[in-house]
Amino acid sequence: MIDAFATVAELARALRAREVSSVELTKFFLARLEKHGAALGAIVTLLPERALREAAAADADLASGNTQNRPLLGIPYGVKDLLAATGGPTTYGAEPYRHQVLDYDAAVIEKLRDGGAVLVAKLAMVELAGGFGYDNADASFTGPGRTPWNTKFWSGGSSSGPGAAVAAGLVPFAIGSETSGSIVTPSAFCGISGMRPTFGAVSRHGAMALSWTLDKLGPMARTAADCNTIYGVIAGEDERDAATARVFPSGHASWVNSDVMARPANKRTLRVGLPKGAWDHVQPAVRDNFLRGVAVLESSGHTIAEIDYPDFPYGPAISVIVDAEGASAFEEILRDGRAKTLRAKADQLGGFESAATLAIDYIRAQRIRVKIRRALLDVFANVDLIVAPTRSTVAYPIGVDFSEVYKEVKSGPAVIPSMNLLGAPAVALPNGFGENGLPTSIQLNAAPANDVLLMNAAIQFQLATDHHTKHPRGFD
């Protein structure tokens, strides 16, 4: 009997032990996607023909012993529907691209395919990855994504389908994308583990562009260990994405020279910095669960210290950058008016507003970004990790504008936008539950190029906790 909530590592062991075949796993997860996917607003397109072909090939490799350095061989997975893939449309979650066919595989899918993983589905997402400024959960032609913990609430964005599908056991793992929060937020709202790699660590060839200077791709899975395994498969230099040349092959993020980068990944005792104010005005359960998580880090031998977080206009800077680059990326649907067919009213108009971003403001934001990077790297000179609640609240209710709920809650330092401006890696880990039975989450951030150090710390956290082993009811 197949466990829908088995980890990638457990499934890989079962495949190698011939307890199950890849074709059986693939049929099992395709059936679960079929049964639960639409109700969660989690799927765009199922790919049964492609998946069964890849699964049969994986089974042949398993039988012949062609398994070395292929930890994902035979494992089914899904991708956010902004990655080009043969076998179905690539919709960007947006009406104007609903019938777009890109007849090639994105670099990430190439790597997963070569590693023997089995693509079963293109998963739902907020239209255009939220680039036009959506203000409620109903912002995709597939409807709102729903967290399986309580389907009256949002699965988060913009990687809404990957979050919900992994949490409900519809796929063992998925690939999401983040420009500013789009992996860590749905990971938090769906109670799964999600990794945002260093900017440039994973090729974006074949991925929808929203912001060339901010977009990242990363894994979303049940555990940090699974994320680390998937990251090992998808990371690497690719001449088709110039950003990867900044990180590889030297192993250092050459775009900012600093000795805080690429610390020894096996460093055991880490200095953990907690930004002052990060938990003062969050929801009570978010605060309590966060402080319990900090205690776990401390009991693991790490040193904990509160830190002053540099004061910069993080929000306005990242907003202007996304506005300007996003308006350029989607200029075609502004010019021909198709932007008006987007689902959310805010998105229908937001792109036109973005297109009026002044060049001097965009350049100013990028120049401020240089100062932001220096200031944050100075912080990382004294700490190995910056740790905070991933979100200040649990998931938002569906059917209500974001601005109309949780008004009593105030965010602390803008950790998510600041770390994205830096290009730093992060991981979101479940750390308990809050209002309405919804999960809460803790985020760990490291200096750029310290992805493995970061993931080692995350794996250690999950060895000491069991939040990642909890699963929503109704999806067994």
Partner: protein, 85 residues
């Protein structure tokens, strides 16, 4: 991008504008409606055939609402030595 979109940024950072020097704040308040109107005219000139009057009015309001956040960005001191990445 997360749901904390630019318009939500604008709302959350409106409070930050309160710590700006009073003179700067006063200038912002006077400049915002004019800037919002000018930017809306730009949108109308480029994309007006796709937008009706109500939508243009909404766009103008959005520009006005976003002005404090933008002013915070513009208030950040940069010198000639501060370069692009």
């Amino acid at each position: 991008m997360s749901h904390t979109s630019r318009r939500r940024f604008a709302q959350s950072l409106a409070a930050a504008a309160a710590v700006m020097p009073l003179t700067a704040l006063a200038e912002t308040r006077e400049a915002s409606p004019a800037m919002a109107k000018a930017l809306t005219e730009l949108v109308r000139a480029e994309y007006g055939k796709h937008l009706d009057a109500a939508e243009l009015a909404r766009i103008e309001k959005d520009f006005a609402d976003a002005a404090p956040a933008l002013e915070r960005l513009r208030a950040f001191k940069l010198g000639n030595e501060d370069s692009l990445p």
